[in-house]
């Protein structure tokens, strides 16, 4: 073991002296993370808030009720509502709202509700009425929400009417048969002037129906956010992407020793062959941990990345380093020379990183690509960090387990091949 430490110490001294490891381990990932935080950071702060205008040409009871319903949106912080005087103004503002580049200083809206004159009257009289939604083509979600709100209001209005009309024929029939009584309806003594007309009955039924309630309620389930903000996500993505280059400096050291001829000396020295391999693994591990630690701390301090529970982050980092070591060690074990190894390592690092979503959050897209991503340590590392955000420490155990499994399986394969190839001197 002493020999392994000696070799690792020597390697680390070499790697720290040669600035390449510094470039790959710290400068490049941190530089990109900082740049990405400038580019993607503003997206995180953008909260959804729709702007709606209402044109109330009616000014009646129902349009007032609708205005109250819209007030609910304001209370929920989903929209701000303004009243404008004419359809033309509303249309103009929505048109402006559709242009994402219009800027903040121009009056704009995502959708307009137009309630025509006579709307309340028609609704109250049980006649057909029409409301118009003018949606901005460029703000699909806001327009959709506006439509939903109006639709819901309309359904609510229709509910009583539908209920009355469903009951009315039977109720009338019942009155005819049973002498003009129906449950809840007492039109007065038989033979009273003006027998029960459908209109009278409907009005009575409507009062009753209005007190019915929707048997379905929608309840919010509290959900935490197991997702990283853009800055943290891309910092973590860059860290794990470049980890695969940094760690390579360690395990590929075997090939470098071979190239330099110093492998012969290590083999001739009174140290076991395993301790040479372990020494290289230690170098990889130390470089990986060192680079990740610096990146976690620096991205937290410099760009406000929020990695989460330090113990959880530490577990994931260690597991990710182990996974990277295993995969890269396989390449180092089977490669003919250092150049071939570094080419293959770069290919593997890039493909795994892209599939694992270090540049683009593929996991959130779901589907086949996301499933494919689970064959990469990168995806598990990012998933683990995400789960850490809104969950317990225990929630990251599957990710830690998956990363360790990558490391152990590939590490085992590498160990098998390295036992054979470590003795090669050229």
């Amino acid at each position: 073991m002493r020999a392994a430490f000696l070799i690792a110490r020597k390697d680390l001294r070499q790697r720290l002296r040669d600035r390449s490891a510094l470039v790959y381990g710290i400068i490049a990932p941190l530089g990109l993370a900082i740049l990405f935080s400038f580019i993607f950071g503003p997206l995180d702060d953008a909260a959804f808030e729709a702007e709606y205008v209402i044109v109330d040409e009616d000014g009646g009871q129902i349009s007032e009720a609708f205005g109250e319903a819209l007030g609910g949106l304001e209370d929920d912080g989903i929209a701000v509502i303004r009243t404008v005087e004419s359809v033309e103004v509303a249309r103009e503002q929505v048109e402006t709202g559709s242009d994402a580049f219009a800027g903040d200083d121009v009056a704009s809206a995502d959708a307009a509700f137009v309630i025509p004159e006579g709307f309340s009257e028609a609704v109250l009289a049980g006649e057909a009425a029409e409301m118009t939604i003018i949606g901005a083509a460029g703000s699909e979600l806001s327009a959709q929400v506006a439509y939903s709100v109006a639709q819901g209001f309309s359904s609510e209005l229709a509910a009583v009417d539908v209920a009355v009309r469903t009951v009315l024929p039977d109720a009338m029939a019942a009155i005819a048969q049973e002498g003009g009584t129906a449950s809840g309806v007492s039109p007065g003594a038989e033979g009273a002037p003006g027998a029960v007309t459908p209109e009278m009955l409907a009005a009575l039924l409507a009062q009753e129906a209005a007190s019915t309630v929707n048997p379905i309620t929608v309840e919010d389930v509290s959900a935490s956010t197991k997702q990283l903000d853009s800055t943290t996500y891309l910092s973590a993505g860059m860290a794990v992407f470049f980890l695969f280059f940094t760690v390579a400096f360690g395990v590929s050291g075997l090939l470098e020793e071979r190239r330099l001829g110093t492998m012969q000396r290590l083999l001739a020295a009174p140290v076991s062959r395993s301790s040479i391999i372990v020494g290289k693994a230690l170098t990889s591990f130390a470089l990986g941990i060192l680079s990740m630690t610096v990146l976690v701390v620096a991205s937290t301090l410099l760009i406000g990345a929020e990695w989460g529970n330090p113990l959880g982050v530490a577990l994931l980092v260690v597991a990710a380093v182990v996974a990277a070591m295993g995969i890269l060690a396989v390449v180092a074990a089977v490669a003919k020379n250092q150049e071939q190894a570094s080419n293959f390592q770069a290919i593997i690092a890039l493909v795994l990183a892209f599939l694992g979503g270090t540049f683009f959050a593929i996991a959130q897209v779901g589907g086949f690509m996301a499933t494919l991503g689970l064959f990469t340590p990168h995806a598990w590392f990012l998933r683990g960090l995400g789960d850490l955000q809104g969950g317990e420490l225990a929630d990251i155990l599957p990710s830690v387990g998956a990363l360790l499994a990558f490391g152990l399986v590939t590490g085992g394969i590498a160990w098998f091949f390295l036992q054979r190839s470590v003795g090669r001197t050229r």
């Binding site: 009417d161 589907g367 086949f368």
Partner: protein, 390 residues
């Protein structure tokens, strides 16, 4: 002049002979366009995952009503836990759980609660209104059926059927929909276009920069010595190396353009315009590669810096986050982005692809890219002369 071509051609053949280069230059970009297109191309409607297991006819009816709403992408999920986790992980914008026995419970006249899941502080919370609207719509019928049962002892299911029919016939308050303005530009684009032109620029540039290591190696291999003995050949060698980088960039660029057009049906718009963008952009990329080759003396370090600069400029220039979105969220950054040649290239491609422009409409972008190329080439030549003769 012939020697210049020999040196340039040499760069190209060296590139193709090395198998791992074939991967980086040709396979990886195509793979990325595919991955990005498959993952991000197509609809961007918010995803609503609905768990409706054994929810019966009324469950299906409710799902149908939600599906009918515009602008939501409804997907069926199997379990409550999974759908909540998917929402928490951002794989769904909204989750909705319709409980088991939804149908029976409602028909028995009892109340039912359905659960709505969205991340706090997310746009998707607004979609609660869409769900509520569908629930209210269905609820109106259920209320009518329950009312009929209570008032006239009608069977719930029969009453529900007649209520459903009546609701369809009566259109008390109709909602007219009108849409004004232009839809957001990216919603009009094909599945692979965005990935194709942004990755084209990213890779052409990145390959050039990492190719600068070849220049450093050939410098180390004694170009300088040759220089001293035959000083007249400095210019030729420089031109040759520059041409080599340019040829590599062009071959890669044309491969990506033709490849994505054939394999993924990417529409590059006006071909003369597209080729013109590629030519000036590749010229600039070759210049930056020469500049790096002249400035660095350690090829491994240059490789690392090349990756940093290549990805960095691409990201800044809108190859990762579309410029239009950048412009909305951070207009200052959008202005800064224009120091990157990628931004000009991307805007030129967008002019061709999104707005059906022709080469005449992108003269400004071409001029900027051309100027950039001339400046970096001049700088590179100057630096390289110093580096070699020192």
């Amino acid at each position: 002049m012939k020697k210049v071509f020999v040196i340039g051609w040499n760069s190209l053949t060296r590139l193709v002979r090395e198998r791992s280069n074939v991967f980086f230059v040709f396979i990886l970009p195509m793979l990325l366009v595919l991955v990005l297109g498959a993952a991000f191309g197509g609809t961007n409607d918010p995803r609503v995952g609905i768990v409706s297991v054994d929810a019966g006819e009324l469950g299906d009816d409710l799902v149908g009503r939600i599906e009918a709403a515009q602008g939501v992408d409804v997907r069926a999920w199997d379990s409550r836990e999974d759908v909540i986790l998917a929402v928490e992980r951002g794989q769904l914008e909204v989750g909705l759980i319709i409980p088991e026995g939804f149908d029976e419970t409602l028909r028995a006249g009892e109340e039912v609660t359905i659960e709505f899941v969205a991340q706090p502080e997310q746009d998707a919370r607004a979609l609660r209104n869409t769900i509520e609207s569908a629930v209210t719509e269905q609820g109106a019928l259920l209320r009518a059926a329950a009312f009929a049962e209570e008032q006239v002892d009608a069977g719930f299911s029969d009453a529900l059927d007649s209520a459903t029919q009546l609701a369809e016939e009566s259109e008390r308050v109709t909602i007219e929909q009108d849409s004004v303005g232009e839809p957001f530009v990216f919603d009009q684009m094909g599945q692979f276009e965005l990935g194709a032109y942004s990755q084209l620029l990213l890779f052409v540039f990145l390959t050039s920069l990492t190719g600068s290591t070849a220049l450093i190696q050939s410098r180390q291999l004694g170009v300088s010595r040759r220089m001293v003995s035959t000083p007249t050949r400095i210019g030729q060698i420089l031109a040759g190396e520059g041409l080599g980088r340019f040829l590599v960039a062009m071959v890669q660029g044309i491969f990506i353009m033709a490849g994505t057009a054939i394999a993924f049906g990417v529409d590059w718009g006006d071909w003369p315009g597209a080729i013109a963008i590629l030519v000036v952009f590749a010229f600039g990329a070759a210049g930056v590669a020469m500049l790096m080759g002249a400035t660095f003396s350690n090829d491994q370090q240059a490789g690392g810096v090349g990756v940093l600069v290549g990805i960095g400029l691409a990201a800044l220039g809108g190859a990762m986050l579309p410029l239009s979105i950048m412009k909305i969220f951070s207009p200052t950054l959008w202005q800064v982005a224009h120091v990157s040649p990628h931004a000009w290239g991307i805007e030129a491609f967008e002019e061709l692809i999104l707005y059906d422009g022709t080469i005449l409409d992108i003269w400004l972008e071409l001029a900027v890219l051309g100027t950039f190329a001339i400046i970096v080439f001049a700088l590179a030549t100057w630096r390289l002369r110093i580096a070699i003769t020192r």
